[in-house]
């Protein structure tokens, strides 16, 4: 599987770096994976920047469609020649910045959160995208799970907290089987994420809280 072959040689190169080549093929699964991994990450970022949920989701969905096309249009290589993750997060910040500028001109100004720098000014820190990276890491790890584990994690956690009976009914298995499968899936997910540097801060905070 592509993500297994390419995850972290030196701790910095992630499977997401393969998206540009996969978009250009075009590999249908790349578009699905990108939507699954980055859609929630974009949404999270826009929400944290103070956008209301409707606007955050609209912007996130637009970016999910636009970024692959920008890559195919040659914008990724010409502008950075580097990390796809970094480039994508820049596109995301710029989108937030454009949104903010448009609102700023209108009489109904919705201020951006004051505890973060104005997006697009180049003064952002990693903290701005820390949550986004966490979502990307989690989504990427879920995408790398075997199908039966992936399904149950998505049903139980990502699309609202479904109980085991509901999950079991959706998957056509017994409630007990759903429990066991979920338990194994979560153990595998924890193992995959526990060494992911993108979750360093989350792990650190958990240690402090423990």
């Amino acid at each position: 599987m592509w993500w297994k072959e390419h995850v972290t040689e030196n701790g910095t190169r992630f499977a997401v770096e393969l998206f540009p080549a996969r978009f250009r093929e075009p590999d249908p699964k790349a578009f699905q994976d990108f939507a699954k991994i980055f859609g929630p990450a974009f949404r999270r970022y826009f929400l944290l920047r103070g956008l209301d949920p409707f606007e955050a989701e609209d912007l996130a969905v637009n970016l999910v469609g636009d970024i692959p096309m920008r890559v195919i249009d040659g914008k990724f290589e010409t502008r950075t020649g580097g990390s796809f993750r970094a480039w994508t997060l820049t596109q995301m910040r710029n989108t937030a910045h454009d949104w903010w500028r448009k609102r700023h001109r209108s009489p109904d100004v919705i201020p951006m959160r004051e505890d973060t720098a104005e997006p697009g000014t180049g003064t952002e820190t990693d903290v701005d995208t820390e949550d986004t990276d966490v979502v990307v890491a989690v989504r990427e790890a879920i995408a790398s799970l075997p199908k039966q584990f992936r399904e149950i994690v998505e049903l139980r956690h990502l699309w609202g907290e479904q109980d085991y009976a509901g999950v079991a009914a959706t998957l056509g298995i017994t409630s007990g089987a759903a429990r066991v499968r979920h338990s194994r899936a979560m153990a595998q997910l924890a193992e995959a994420l526990s060494t992911d540097p993108r979750l360093k801060r989350v792990l650190y905070r958990a240690q402090l809280g423990a």
Binding site: F34, A35, V61, V64, M69, V138
Partner: protein
């Protein structure tokens, strides 16, 4: 419920707190998930259309709507879904209020601004009842200089248009220019 090392007294694995926190950040509604999936599918459709467009040689003398429809058919893409997602009601003629969505489509499938404008003008020529293209002078497919010849034929035909139609064409051209470059 949890006992030691993440195993509950029922023998189940208890996810550590940090994982629960990370998972919570990833929550989305099924509706949002479906919208993202559709956006990804439309992007794939556009990528397929772009590849199909790239296979062609030279300029094809069709209106924008007819040309895009042909490309979609060759790429086995559901054009209606793509247009719906871009909120574009139709391409013949392009509506001034939805010109941005139309240009997103044109750019995405690899149409240059010049090609786009020529296709739009062909649409006007057709709806105005003009047939500026003599098949002997302008063989289908256009060849390497097809776009040059097409523009010359259109310029000639447009000398006979009503001023009102010409005004509409120029107005649309200005909007197309603006939207096309805004996308850069």
């Amino acid at each position: 419920m949890a006992t030691t090392e993440g195993i509950t007294d029922l023998g189940e694995y208890e996810p550590p707190r940090w994982l629960q926190v990370a998972m919570e950040a990833s929550h989305v509604s099924p509706e949002f998930d479906a919208r993202c999936r559709e956006a990804g599918e439309v992007a794939l459709d556009l990528a397929r259309m772009r590849r199909e467009k790239g296979r062609g040689q030279g300029f094809v003398d069709l209106s924008l709507g007819a040309y895009v429809d042909a490309i979609a058919q060759l790429a086995s893409v559901d054009l209606a879904r793509v247009l719906r997602w871009l909120e574009v009601p139709g391409l013949d003629p392009i509506d001034l209020t939805t010109v941005k969505g139309s240009m997103r489509l044109c750019k995405a499938i690899g149409l240059s601004l010049r090609e786009t404008l020529a296709h739009v003008r062909i649409g006007f020529a057709g709806s105005a009842g003009f047939r500026p293209f003599n098949p002997e002078v302008f063989p289908r497919g256009g060849g390497r200089r097809g776009l040059d010849r097409c523009e010359a034929a259109l310029a000639e035909a447009e000398t006979e248009y009503d001023l009102e139609i010409l005004h509409r064409i120029r107005q649309l051209e200005a909007a197309i220019h603006s939207a096309y470059y805004e996308l850069d």
